[in-house]
Symmetry: C2
Amino acid sequence: MEGGASCMGEAAERVKNARVRRRVMSAEAAAEMVAPDAVLAVSGFARAGGPKEVPLALARQAREGRPLRLAVWSGGSLGGEIDRELAGTGAVVRRLPYQSLPDLRQRINRGEVEYVDQHLGVCPELVRAGHLGRPDVALVEACVVREDGSLVPTSSVGNSALYVEVAAAVIVEVNLWHPVELEGLHDIWGYGRPPERGPLPLVDPLQRIGRPAIPVDPDRIAAVVLTCRPDHPYEFDPPDEASLRIGEHLLDFLEGEVRAGRMPPALLPVQAGVGNLGNAVLGALARWPHPGLTFFSEVLQDGVLDLIDAGVARGASGTALTLSTAGQERFRRDLGRYKPHLILRPQEVSNSGEAIRRLGVLAVNTAVEVDIYGHVNSSHLFGSQILNGIGGSGDFSRNAYLSVFVTSSTARGGRVSCVVPMVSHVDHTEHEVHVVVTEQGVADLRGLSPRERAAAIISRCAHPTYRPLLEDYFRRACREGGHSPHLLGEALSWHIRYLERGTMLP
Amino acid sequence: MEGGASCMGEAAERVKNARVRRRVMSAEAAAEMVAPDAVLAVSGFARAGGPKEVPLALARQAREGRPLRLAVWSGGSLGGEIDRELAGTGAVVRRLPYQSLPDLRQRINRGEVEYVDQHLGVCPELVRAGHLGRPDVALVEACVVREDGSLVPTSSVGNSALYVEVAAAVIVEVNLWHPVELEGLHDIWGYGRPPERGPLPLVDPLQRIGRPAIPVDPDRIAAVVLTCRPDHPYEFDPPDEASLRIGEHLLDFLEGEVRAGRMPPALLPVQAGVGNLGNAVLGALARWPHPGLTFFSEVLQDGVLDLIDAGVARGASGTALTLSTAGQERFRRDLGRYKPHLILRPQEVSNSGEAIRRLGVLAVNTAVEVDIYGHVNSSHLFGSQILNGIGGSGDFSRNAYLSVFVTSSTARGGRVSCVVPMVSHVDHTEHEVHVVVTEQGVADLRGLSPRERAAAIISRCAHPTYRPLLEDYFRRACREGGHSPHLLGEALSWHIRYLERGTMLP
């Protein structure tokens, strides 16, 4: 075992079932139990809680000539152990449902890895239905193996419970970096199979409806590997000027919603997307004047800990706790303080359309680009190149009480307008986009027709440099007529211009 | 009152609340209660159960010079009384969430009517949240006004219960064409407002969870108008050769799903889209060898009655019963026989993502065009022109257990390919499209990456005339790279060619 020999002494305390304890072995030995063409279903979401030692051992074996052609299914994006080290050997030939590291992305865009991008809340349904086949091995990280064999997850839940349920065999990585006091943070609940299943009983974002650990027959655990590696951290840039202004515009808009009686003072449960802009949104919410905020989100980031510390947030529900290096240390150190405010759930609950709709979530997601009619691209650059994937943005935006998309009005030093005549890839249609916020302002699109939406988006969200160009396009398109007037010969010309000349400006 | 003086004698029997009965008046008088710039929220879905006399009176008033600028909100598409006669006067300046008649469509495409196309299952949520403002008048058709003032709907439920709840005033059209025995067909249930609301308690497609009538305080009913007009009928063409083959391919595919254990022999609850192709799908299902089918759909058409008669279907749940003239007569004549097998619900239940997901619906919807990566256009022609709208297709496809899209491989005598490099408008992304069926064959896209999806769609679904052209596009796009390889300069060129030269063929 690399990276954590110092904490080996705790093994007996962490693997409490005696039969399972006898299956503690080296990562190399466990890796050899994975068939060369296996479907490997792993824990991990937003780089948190994924397995570490077995993937690194598989990567070593691949580099030493073992002919691996693995399909890797996860909860969400994974850390460097799989999406950089293992994928870097060429051993990962199929990957779902999300990724976010550059090396793997480049392989996908070169056509070397078959990447099956999926709604993170829907993926578990596809797995359960058998639409994707059956995983051979569930490889999941746990904090503790309990007496009955059940597994206490670590910093994410993701699809772990489901993968453990449906896979032919189970391999567990027990991660000693996490304190045993993590037990009680998680709430494990799963949908059954249709048609015999009832409602998700969740009626409050901070309600517990399940068990603290993932049930598993101890005899199905084929191997246990110990590790002390922390998660791949998620470091943030400090918010730039545009992000700060987007946060201010959002706060102003939400205050208006409260005044209009459409939102309670403590807001409805909030979901905020991952990344610098998502973190800037959390930073803005720290100034929200009415305490008692709750989060019903997928990824909980450093900003959520700040909001709890500041007494602004009552608590947060998610499927992953994705922190910076400093955040990881802070959470581990003050676990007792944070734990009563946090719940980690399977992604089929955190991203459940049923729950998001019922609770009335205020969803704030980041757009790559938005078009004049309010269609949003979240996943592709210039039509072809995948960035990360759709992630949970569709689960939330489709089912939200209020769906907000945020983006800077320009990118790449102003050479790209993030408001374009027609997006080069559609992830979210106009129907899922209630409000668009850029550093320029807020376009409130509720109840507007496409032509009215265009007028609002262009005048309020586009950068002044690009605004006259958009106005000109829209005016000429309207002359040709239609409900969503477009000039098909020009609709994608801004993207083409950028590809050819390095700028969208004419 | 036009169109039904013969049944006027029944009025006392149909309006059982005495206070409400005193408000029976002429359509002209009721129409004058509608302010010239009112938001008029009406019953009606898929041309069934909409109000008739007051809209026609408003149309007469408009033609005589009353300056009407109405916003008309409905459940779904409306019959000719509103979407042709009233809209034809120019009195409808805003319309949501769906329409399907040519005159109104042309006005929308000319930019004369602000049309707000919406997911039919999400629209009620937007109304309840106040995102669209408040309707001034709810104008709903009923079969009976009960003693307590509650309203028994007619051939659809749509948004009637919600509109009656939130509107400032209520006008009822009592339609004597329908027999009073319709009472008991409907199941009225509504979501509350978040965050204080529980699950939709539905666990079986044929379960009743609500009341048989729409509750309303009798004092809120400002007027009652009598009518005997039947619904605007929906006539079908007999299935053509392509539709029959699509039906056969679908049946073969579903038999494979049953054999693979992914679908029970009586299938999961079925949703089939409206129209000739939807009706052809129902015709194919009449040959399904395992009895006990159920439908959890939005619109129930003549084919559902056939399946009940044939003993193939156990029952059907929807929000509208949209029938041909012959079907209307047949249903009225044999109401006692059909009623135990049918339930009409509010569209927030029939199209509830929560219910569709939980029940595991098999959704079969019609595409206008599909692209090589499996994105579907359901609503627009050549990017700009609206056809009808997204309707309920997004509610079902996003939440379905299995989402199938059907289309002929070509249209307009072969001059249009319905499989294109890039759709000119996206309503459903690749994530919502599990299976595509054309008369050429079946592309099973589950678990495939975009490049794999393209290979399947081109080889199995495209017409042989267009297949080499698609292969050529895809091959050249792959040389440029990307996760979903496109050549942006050519992606929409097929549509441009059609607009310029009347054919997509080069």
